[in-house]
């Protein structure tokens, strides 16, 4: 089974990916207030992600949610640097998994509130 991860795309992120092929696949949600890049995740990769991050889960739409912000940020960086939304991007992320988990561990306790 294939799952998905939705990466939120604000203006800054859009600038980084606008010339990549998948930029045309961005979804506009809720009347255009939010754009999302939907990335397909195969079962093996999903299992690994769920194992690495115990609070993560599959939601009603089949999306992996409650992922650490650090993971999503690295995934976005990997998508930009590899120009891919496939395995290459995830391999790049998993290469830094310890670092991401360290950042995520702090993030599990504290994320600055919006001002």
């Amino acid at each position: 089974m294939t799952y998905k991860i939705g990466l939120l795309i604000d203006e800054k992120r859009y600038e980084a990916i606008k010339n990549l092929p998948f930029a045309t696949t961005l979804k506009s949600m809720f009347g255009g207030d939010i754009r999302v890049l939907e990335i397909e995740v195969d079962e093996e990769t999903s299992r690994r992600i769920l194992a690495e991050f115990p609070a993560a889960r599959v939601d009603a739409r089949g999306f992996l949610e409650d992922l650490p912000v650090a993971f999503k940020r690295e995934l976005f960086n990997a998508v930009v640097s590899t120009g891919s939304v496939g395995r290459e991007a995830f391999e790049k992320v998993f290469a830094k998994i310890d670092e991401i988990k360290q950042a995520a561990a702090k993030e599990k306790e504290y994320v600055p509130p919006p001002t």
């Binding site: 939120l8 809720f30 207030d33 115990p54 609070a55 739409r61 919006p114």
Partner: protein
């Protein structure tokens, strides 16, 4: 059948002694047993039985008056009945064998249960028994794909908080009637939402509400929830809309990633403070309970407590009180339309002898339709039942966990997804705890401070 419906079991339990002198004489000289939380494998508190003591003694789970004997537990696991009356979960006071031995506890004794060293309740010990293999117990409580294939899709494991709660119980159990001898004072913001059954039933009468729909929540409301609540009012009334929505939040230990309890309560309150619900059609209340996330079983628990609180109907949506994909997303609707024979419930809970009187309002999911410019109904499907969606356009589903992702990344959710006043409540409590959702740190703070003071 107008509100308030008669209590489950026919009599509302109220085992609370408010008279200080009487309470002192009841407790004098009794052996003290400190109430111990249940911890997960990582040391995070996942349950505190004091919440069950409060819920039992104030009558939320009438006719139950105490922690269950081995026979009671067996009956629950065999046919989901407590002394004949439908009830889904074993309520177990678990304890270490060493504590039983060192305190010399024996059947027939009365003991004083203390919370953080202060008296809370007296238990008349009817039975002391061994729980056996708690993994087997946890499987029996929630079901397995082999035994309960109509609704269980995946074997439960340690990622399921309710299963883990039973798995991590201590090896022995004390059973017996409870009497609260030191009614605690609730802290804010809980105090203004604490409305136990004898109070809520009077409240419903005083408002003149005849048809009242309960809304279960463990969540800060997004607009999908608001639509469910509002639409449920029109289903429940049949010949006319219902009078009110009775929001009852479950307050206690929750899974990491859920919203903090304070934001759940105040988020729902914000809906009527900001006028999205007229105050005469909406009330926010709470029940102390560490969620089992038992989907259809939890829905039966919800029906019992809300019948005791006085409502006539209960709205059930997709993935009711669920986490993960252990159960079918419409397992609750399966129960309320067909029963769950593999758990011993042969027909819907309001159609069986000594079942509940609350009527279900089964609803599928609502989603935003950009073409219609409003929320639309997606319908639901389970077994051979399938509803078509209300409109013919592709909708945008509002997933609570997607929304959590938006929030944690520091973005204000679109107004069509969440009321700004509700978001402001989330940020208010984010500033208090440094995080908008439940974390291990929050669970530890909650365990230390609890919702009450004695």
């Amino acid at each position: 059948m107008y509100a308030p419906l008669e209590p489950h079991g026919g009599r509302l339990v109220y085992n609370v002694v408010e008279d200080r002198d009487r309470a002192a004489s009841m407790s004098a000289g009794l052996t003290k047993v400190e109430i111990e939380p249940t911890y997960g494998p990582d040391g995070a508190p996942i349950r505190n039985p004091y919440r069950e003591i409060m819920t039992i003694t104030y009558g939320f789970v009438s006719p139950i008056e105490g922690f269950m004997t081995r026979n009671d537990v067996d009956s629950i696991l065999r046919e989901r009945r407590y002394r004949g009356w439908l009830f889904p979960f074993p309520l177990i006071y678990d304890i270490d064998e060493e504590t039983v031995k060192s305190l010399g506890l024996k059947e027939g004794d009365s003991v004083l249960l203390t919370l953080k060293g202060k008296p809370l309740a007296v238990m008349n010990i009817e039975e002391i028994y061994k729980l056996g293999d708690r993994k087997e117990l946890a499987d029996a409580v929630f079901g397995t794909p082999e035994r309960n294939g109509e609704v269980v899709k995946k074997r439960f494991d340690e990622k399921h908080p309710g299963w883990l709660m039973y798995r991590m119980m201590r090896p022995m159990a004390l059973a017996g009637k409870l009497t609260l001898v030191n009614p605690p004072k609730f802290k804010e913001p809980y105090a203004r939402f604490w409305m136990p059954p004898h109070v809520s039933r009077e409240y419903i009468k005083s408002r003149g509400w005849k048809i009242v729909v309960a809304h279960q929540t463990r969540n800060v409301p997004h607009i999908g929830h608001e639509m469910l609540m509002k639409r449920a009012m029109f289903v429940a009334g049949a010949e006319r809309p219902a009078d009110a929505v009775f929001v009852n939040a479950i307050i206690g230990a929750k899974r990491p990633g859920d919203y903090v309890d304070e934001a759940i309560l105040e988020g729902h309150e914000a809906l009527n403070k900001a006028g999205y619900f007229h105050a005469n059609r909406h009330v926010v209340t709470m029940t102390l309970w560490d969620m089992r996330y038992g989907n259809p079983l939890e829905s039966l628990f919800h029906a019992v407590i809300r019948q005791n609180l006085g409502v006539t109907h209960h709205m059930f949506g997709r993935d009711h009180a669920a986490t993960g994909d252990y159960y079918d997303p419409y397992a609750t609707q399966y129960l309320w339309t067909r029963g769950l024979p593999s758990y011993g419930i042969e027909a819907p809970p309001y159609q069986v002898d000594k079942g509940v009187k609350v009527r279900p309002v089964n609803l599928g999911e609502f989603a935003y339709c950009p073409k219609c410019g409003e929320y639309t109904y997606l319908g639901m499907a389970y077994g051979d039942y399938k509803e078509p969606p209300l409109c013919g356009h592709p909708p945008e589903r509002v997933s609570g966990s997607f929304l959590r992702g938006v929030i944690i990344e520091g973005l204000r959710p679109p107004k069509v997804v969440m009321r700004p006043e509700v978001y402001d409540v989330i940020v208010k409590w984010w500033k208090v705890y440094g995080y908008p959702y439940v974390t291990d740190r929050y669970l530890k703070i909650k365990e230390q401070e609890l919702e009450v003071e004695l």
